[in-house]
């Protein structure tokens, strides 16, 4: 079986058959016309051989459908180039060693779950002593000083704390995403940081189950971490990014005032 990477299609039981499963609800009574509508919708989406294999009335004027069809679209995998967090992941030991060597002082991070969001499990996993999946959180790292402000923290408070403790990195967690409330909140934070004039002094890092590094870059952050993130991932990134900044600023300094 030789997959053509420039035109990858879904696979059911034969290469490029395109098989997909869909389920959705239409706000109409369940009858032959509704099933036809479900089929037409599948066709508009570029499916062939659309089969409405199940339909049921799930409320007055709402019908539920399970649909199978063969997707005619394909994706060029060779053209996919997504931004990735720029870091070599290191272990607990390595991170501490790296900071000691390249930075020479403790890194200060301030973290919070901001806005109305109260989901602290994710950020706690990264920051708190007990950590996540058998890994210690940053709090436990000798070369990190951490402040975890908890949940439902106004962006303003997070920023104030960061300034107060001279933070190197600002870590913000966003879990609730309904009506894109996280985008609003993250954008607002970025604007505050910018307005405060400290954007180049802190690493701005976001995380959460629907966060991707791509989104982070889009919103002007330095990095974004999604599901499955371990404390050491974040630690590695912060340490290396900070070392880079310091190096650059030294070089910069050299270059400008020789």
């Amino acid at each position: 079986m030789e997959v053509n990477m420039t035109r990858v299609r879904p696979y059911g039981d034969t290469l490029d058959d395109g098989y997909m499963q869909l389920s959705f609800t239409l706000p109409v009574q369940c009858n032959a016309e509704a099933r036809k509508a479900a089929e037409l919708l599948g066709e508009k989406m570029g499916l062939e051989d659309v089969k409405v294999v199940y339909s049921d009335n799930i409320a007055d004027n709402f019908s539920f459908f399970v649909v199978y069809g063969r997707c005619t679209h394909s994706v060029d995998m060779t053209a996919i180039d997504i931004p990735k967090v720029d870091a070599d992941f290191m272990s607990y030991q390595e991170i501490n060693g790296f900071i000691e060597k390249h930075i020479g002082r403790k890194i200060v991070v301030v973290a919070a779950c901001t806005g109305t969001d109260a989901h602290t499990v994710g950020i706690d996993a990264i920051i708190n002593m007990k950590g996540y999946r058998g890994e210690y959180g940053l709090e436990r790292y000798p070369w990190f000083t951490t402040y975890n402000l908890g949940s439902q923290v106004p962006n303003e408070d997070l920023l104030a704390k960061a300034i107060q403790v001279n933070a190197d990195a600002l870590l913000v967690s966003q879990v609730v995403t309904q009506r894109n409330i996280h985008i609003d909140n993250l954008t607002h934070l970025a604007e505050l940081v910018e307005a405060e004039g400290i954007r180049d002094k802190v690493l701005l890092i976001m995380g959460g189950p629907r966060i991707s590094h791509e989104l982070a870059i889009e919103l002007g952050y330095d990095a974004g971490f999604g599901p499955g993130t371990l404390p050491s991932h974040v630690g590695s990134f912060i340490a290396q990014a900070l070392a880079r900044t310091i190096r650059n600023s030294k070089e910069h300094t050299k270059g400008v005032y020789p």
């Binding site: 959705f24 799930i58 709402f62 539920f64 109305t116 109260a118 439902q152």
Partner: protein, 537 residues
């Protein structure tokens, strides 16, 4: 007994919980809060908002607090103002709000005269609330209530009108109970929003208008289906007692209402919370509302296998405090949850052991069983199976209220089809294994019996430790949910006021009189299969 549970430990645990509750009672009695006082106003019929959307109860209570008068109770001062100005309750409320009248200029009236005036108004509203309770009982008696576990689903669109669509659809699919989830953050608001709302995040604001809209919708769909559809909201957060009052007026049937949730999970001040929960529970008791406690929350942050005993310990405390607020055992819907890692060998046995244990220890409580959430991933197919095993545990162990798991738990608040699939799941599993409970017995000294007794013992020793040092100190020490809260920390302490000797609030007296009368026994389920029964099965 289905599992051989060491009842000596149950007795020890219950008595420790009693001591814990007794220890907190002096604080509860010594204080009132701004939200209790606002509740008094609400119960007296003062409602509405000013042109800045600030609720009248807040305006008036804030004024009284600024004037340093709250220690006497707002009821006393509003009564004094009425008498002094010769205005009716609503006239005086409006006058205060418009700052035409100011508390500063109101002299103290004679206590007994004030009491007479206020008592009259209070009795009227209490009989209205009682009427609502009796109306519920009539509606239930008239309808087919099915067999437990009762199916409880949530709606959470953020828009009350979409919620209505979703709720009606769910009821038609077979849901017995509908909870309207609140918008994120509402629990930290120190006021209750007003009017119908359409703009919540992850839930819809709890407002009295929203309560009323949903109540009407559910009554209508209930009539269509010949069933009584129960309505639930959150009596929790900084406005705990106010929401209890709103629910009592709008005939809500259940309320999420926990004695410690706000402290631990919302960082609300502990004194505020203990004082508020007591009054809110009296209202719930009087209104015939079933409370749902929030023990599931312990397991969303900690490991469900390791921390199982904290759930049990909290259940005992919630029970003890609830009894002291006049709730009957059949109104105390203690929470527990099915949250163990699905990849744990024999996980189902451990879950089932705990569910059976809770059933045995709290035989009259309409236990509320919460579904898997923490270990739900975007794999909706596996998630649907986890929900099925949860449903199976529910029907085998004879739970009363089954909050249905949703296959998209990790993804979004439930869509119409997600809820349909959840109800289909529960109906299929529970009917397909309907009498399995009666068909099987568990091995003496087996995995399950051992597990249940282990959890019980750990909970007992935790409770005895807490009783030793007092509940507030235990919370300060981080003994619950691994969070430490200061006695004077958290939100809302500024709303806690030591009562004066003159303190007056007409409601506790009226409520407790009814609650302690021997014929107070709200009909809660009316399951025809069991006659007009109440509680589990």
């Amino acid at each position: 007994m289905r599992l051989d549970i060491d009842m000596a430990f149950v007795d020890r645990a219950r008595s420790a919980a009693g001591r814990i509750a007794d220890g907190i009672q002096p604080t509860i009695e010594a204080y009132t809060t701004t939200s209790i006082e606002r509740t008094v106003l609400r119960l007296l019929g003062i409602n509405g908002v000013d042109e800045n959307d600030v609720p009248l109860p807040n305006i008036i209570v804030d004024q009284a607090q600024a004037a340093g008068l709250l220690e006497d109770g707002i009821a006393y001062w509003i009564g004094s103002a009425m008498l002094h100005q010769g205005l009716s309750l609503s006239e005086i409320a409006n006058a205060l709000a418009r700052e035409e009248v100011s508390f500063d200029r109101i002299p103290r009236s004679d206590h007994d005269t004030v009491r007479r005036v206020i008592e009259h108004e209070a009795t009227r509203v209490c009989s209205y609330i009682k009427g609502r309770r009796l109306q519920r009982e009539r509606l239930i008696a008239r309808s087919n209530s099915g067999t437990p576990p009762y199916l409880y689903v949530i709606v959470a669109t953020g828009n009350i009108y979409e919620d209505v669509i979703q709720a009606k659809a769910a009821a038609k699919c077979g849901a017995d109970i509908i909870a309207v989830i609140r918008s994120t953050g509402q629990s930290l608001l120190d006021y209750v929003p007003y009017g119908p709302t359409t703009e919540g995040f992850g839930g819809t604001y709890a407002t009295q208008a929203n309560f009323r809209i949903m109540r009407e919708a559910l009554d209508a769909v209930g009539r269509e289906c010949g069933r009584y559809i129960r309505l639930v909201n959150y009596c929790s957060g900084l406005c705990m007692p106010e929401i209890a009052a709103m629910g009592a007026l709008e005939r809500l049937d259940m309320m999420l209402n926990d004695a410690m949730y706000g402290i631990l999970f919302r960082n609300i001040n502990m004194q505020r919370t203990f004082v508020d929960q007591h009054f809110s529970r009296m209202i719930n008791a009087y209104a015939g509302v079933i409370i749902n406690t929030g023990e599931d929350n312990y397991l969303t942050t900690a490991d469900a296998y390791e921390e199982a005993h904290t759930v049990l310990a909290s259940q005992f405390i919630n029970e003890a405090l609830a009894r002291r607020s006049g709730l009957t055992p059949w109104q105390i819907g203690l929470g527990h949850a099915y949250e163990m890692d699905p990849d744990m060998t024999d996980g189902f046995l451990y879950e089932l052991a705990q569910a059976e244990m809770a059933r045995i220890i709290f035989p009259e409580a309409p236990l509320k069983y919460m579904p898997p959430t923490k270990h739900m991933t975007g794999n909706i197919f596996k998630g649907h199976l986890m929900d099925a095993m949860f449903n199976l545990a529910g029907v085998i162990s004879g739970q009363t209220i089954q909050l249905l798991g949703i296959l998209t738990e990790h993804v979004h608040t439930p869509h119409l089809q997600d809820r349909y699939l959840a109800i289909e799941n529960a109906k299929y599993i529970m009917d397909n294994a309907r009498h399995l409970r009666e068909e099987i017995t568990y091995k003496k000294g087996g995995i399950m019996e051992k597990r249940a007794n282990e959890v019980l013992k750990e909970a007992t020793s935790m409770l005895e430790q807490v009783a030793e040092i007092s509940l507030m100190s235990a919370i300060e020490d981080g003994m619950f949910a691994s969070v430490k809260r200061e006695r004077t920390g958290g939100r809302g302490l500024d709303g806690v006021i030591r009562k004066s000797e003159r303190y007056y609030n007409p409601f506790p007296g009226i409520f407790m009189q009814e609650l302690t009368s021997s014929d107070f026994s709200p009909v809660l389920w009316g399951n025809p299969a069991k006659g007009q029964g109440r509680g589990a099965e």
